[in-house]
Symmetry: C2
Subunit: 350 residues, 2 copies
DNA sequence: GCGTTTTTTGACAAGGTTGTCAATATTGGA
DNA sequence: TCCAATATTGACAACCTTGTCAAAAAACGC
């Protein structure tokens, strides 16, 4: 079989000897600390390179204050939303010399404060991550925010949040995006516009709905309460909403769905009933998920730069760590993009 | 802001004092080592519980031979395949007290042996993972296998593999599943059956095709080379295949697609041209991905227990680690499931 | 030129665990 | 009952870094 594991990988001591300096100086150079002559700095770098030296994270994190580990806490590691953000986060971590680890927490709703604290303490103590990336819906959870703050762990939240809590936040402007969607529909001449909400425990559901409401009002249009359907961001909810509209005497001519999956469900329901999209009803989604271009016609939607959200979250976190002065409240808004495709057209009727 | 980071989390020393034993005994108990009286064992467990003790992974991995870290190496962290496996792996890791970290390697095809070795050495030395889970297409890569074996890192491969290399492997029986698919179609009366291949660099493409071929031959049916279309596991490839079949004078009455995404593309192409599935053409996919129940009609397909593949890979890896005797070559085959849905029916014509 | 401040460098301890090995307690055999 | 073998326990070193602090070197002020 293979050779025994450890091998003879170079240690800091070896680098120090080769460079003719003390171990501590090597440490300083490799951590980009000041107080080292440029000449020595170069020597050390060369020695490290020559020996193909890779520092031991275990030793680093045991002794030092950094673990070079960032923990991504999420709810469902199977969803496109989570996975795309995670993808960006992994890339950023690799570039910055960090390691991304994943933690799953389920059923948080039913957890008492003590359980939440326990869950995070376990995550945290096992391999004291330098920071935590908190994805929706946890990004907006007060209890988690409190526990993590209490533990002094830097956090970046991803997604819309309404916590008073200061801290770092990376998001897109869901509100503005929703307004653009409505404007697109009203520009086409729609007046009877429906809306499919997302999960009640996700802040984005509320923000998108509020953008929708405001834009409708700004356009001088009434919102028919019948046309605002509930949903949980899943295909079936969109399908159900479709069934409802099909049974309605005077359905909306356009529907804005809080996400693509539901929009696809809506379109499926309509198509099965023999209705044409966009001729009989215009549909707009949100996310630009895979399904937006797997359905026919392609879905008009709003693209969220999910992978950028993930990488930005990580790089902000890391940036905040090296700034000795704790980076204060901080909100980064990435650009979304309205993607005009085939599911929207002027209304046939009014 | 928050309290300072470290806090006063319990250490092994504290547990030892509370239990009235030596530190080493605590270590033994917590690692399930032999040579401890049951009475002491219980005492230590209670003390650890009372103090809410969580061991420091850094110290453990610095001193000991285990890092309690498992590294998942994959290519594209955005795909459903990868993400579902990863999901299972995270769950298993959490249960077993391990941490899952993710590494992305791109463009491996173009990497020289030295680069591959370097990439893995970096991954490996940073936080010496106890094992590596290698996903397709890397699971079948000779160079990676060689490098990891040389480094003495235990590996579990997930997916079909044709390496001579011994080692652990977790997969489903793609071959058998393909045969079942063909049998289903022939049972329905189909004789002219097409096939859409997957990426050439994925072993599963070849295995599924070979199952297809064998089953066709067993059924006494000819394979029309025209009906075997290329693909890369993506929606577009299926769509393209559909276009081809639409232009064919005498197209197949049924098509077996190497995965669901391509099957969906195929159905989309047919629907756009006004053909009905399954009436005009039966379609079978592979994977039981989300899209299988997002399209209409629902896709007949083969379910891969992806998340189970991930959790099994991790638990086998961990099992292999604790068996002092290196677990030898080892192949675990999980059950797949043929999922009969709406895209298959007897042929209208022969 | 000499004392003082500032910059650069290194010696040493410490971090929390596990491996080694010796010491002690227990068991078994005669 | 006593000695040998075995099972249990603990003392101590070691793992590889970084933080602390003091020493050495350089720069500065007069």
């Amino acid at each position: 079989m293979a050779k025994t594991r450890s091998e003879n990988s170079a240690k800091m001591k070896d680098v120090a000897e080769l460079a003719g300096v003390s171990i501590k100086t090597v440490s300083r150079v490799l951590n980009n600390e000041p107080h080292v002559q440029d000449k020595l700095r170069r020597k050390v770098r060369e020695a490290a390179e020559a020996l193909d030296y890779v520092p031991s994270q275990s030793a680093r994190s045991l002794r030092g204050s950094r673990s070079y580990d960032i923990n991504l806490v999420c709810h469902n590691a199977g969803s496109v939303y989570v996975n795309s953000i995670q993808f960006g986060a992994v890339i950023a971590c690799q570039e910055l010399g960090y390691q991304l680890s994943i933690s799953l927490i389920e059923n948080l709703d039913q957890m008492a404060m003590a359980d939440i604290r326990h869950a995070f303490e376990t995550i945290t103590r096992r391999r004291r991550p330098d920071g935590v990336v908190l994805l929706a819906p946890y990004a907006n959870d007060e209890k988690i925010a409190f526990v993590l703050d209490e533990m002094g762990i830097p956090v970046v939240r991803v997604g819309p949040v309404d916590l008073q809590n200061q801290g770092m936040l990376v998001e897109i402007d869901d509100y503005k995006a929703s307004i653009e969607v409505v404007r697109h529909l009203t520009d086409l001449g729609h007046k009877r516009i429906g809306f499919i909400r997302g999960s009640e425990n996700q802040r984005s559901s509320h923000v998108r709905f509020s953008g929708f409401s405001v834009a409708m009002e700004a356009a001088g249009l009434e919102i028919d309460p019948d046309f605002v359907r509930p949903g949980a961001f899943d295909f079936q909810a969109g399908y159900d909403a479709g069934q409802f509209f099909l049974g309605h005497a005077n359905p909306p001519t356009a529907v804005f769905s809080s996400n693509d999956d539901m929009a696809a469900g809506l379109v499926a329901a309509l198509s099965e009933a023999g209705l044409k999209v966009p001729e009989d009803m215009s549909v707009v989604g949100f996310d630009d998920a895979d399904i937006a271009t797997r359905m026919r016609p392609f879905l008009t939607t709003v693209r969220q730069p999910l992978s950028d959200l993930g990488s930005t979250a990580v790089s902000e976190l890391v940036k905040g760590l090296s700034d000795s002065k704790k980076a204060g409240p901080h909100r980064i808004v990435l650009d979304h993009e309205f993607v005009l495709r085939g599911t929207t057209a002027p209304p046939k009727r009014i």
